[in-house]
Symmetry: C3
Subunit: 128 residues, 3 copies
């Protein structure tokens, strides 16, 4: 599988460390990840946005690992946050944990998630 980022110079660059488009050639496997939320294995939920975001990403990385993939296999991520004030933090945490990998990305503010305690949900598509 070859993944190629597209950021045409005629366009405004991405607003943080992601790519405007990500092209995949020769994928043999695709992995669709459910929206992950910040619920730990024991059912507890970090009270703060950063804690929930870090938990979401840890779960995404664990699911990638279960499929024999790693963060470099991520092609697209979609973030849903419930508070617009968390947008900057979402980008900071994503960019830090991606360690230089820049998948395509969509980020929107939703009216809510499946549980009122949750303030972020992140899904992803990966390929190998």
């Amino acid at each position: 599988m070859i993944a190629k980022a597209h950021n045409p110079p005629s366009l405004h660059p991405p607003f943080s460390a992601y790519s405007l488009g990500m092209e995949v050639s020769g994928a043999e496997r695709w992995l669709h990840l459910s929206g992950q939320v910040g619920v730990r294995k024991d059912g507890s939920v970090p009270p703060d946005a950063e804690g929930q975001m870090e938990e979401c990403w840890a779960k995404i990385f664990a699911i990638l690992d279960a499929a024999g993939m790693e963060k470099a296999n991520m092609i697209k991520v979609t973030g849903y946050v419930t508070r617009s004030d968390d947008i900057g933090l979402f980008r900071q945490v994503r960019d830090r944990l991606m360690e230089g990998h820049e998948p395509a990305s969509t980020l929107v503010v939703v009216a809510g998630l499946a549980n009122p305690d949750w303030i972020v949900e992140i899904e992803a598509v990966a390929a190998a």
Copy 2:
């Protein structure tokens, strides 16, 4: 096509009958379904959430059928509801109609859909 569910034991299990990740190998065909809403062929809309949800799923199954696929081909579903009170019902209806098939799933509460009468929209990705 081989679809393999990933639910790593180190993570909190899914909150209902879906998979944290769904991996696809050897897909020859992919089907992307538009967000389906609870509008019947005659243009009428069930007034209740359950009726709209059942209509959405019936339409998804009809489109899968038109492509020579069935519910076991579903890899990812995304649900958009306009009322957080319908979250539990959404899961109940999905789990009942999936009959044991557990695709990846994302579920968010949105501020609205394209018509104020609509209270649920469901899209899906399938592979064969």
Copy 3:
């Protein structure tokens, strides 16, 4: 790559120029596009919804072009608008700029986007 639209006659037809489902066979390349917003290269943002929508589509077409694709390669688009009053306009602009190509489509109203000046975000998946 062969793309085939599915609009089963037993279902209510699409509400504008899109397809209920879009099937892809024999794809060698997939392109996932980040949600595009109406920010021009110089950082300015059209104040009106139509201007922002046209900018989103222009960016999508530029990214497709960078990947050696064109609008006929678009399989699925997802539109996020922040104001329900813009739904009709969203469909008009999309249908006009698609020039007869009818990908699968989802359209939802979100509580906000990553910047309060943005009133529309559009992402897409394409194949070749």
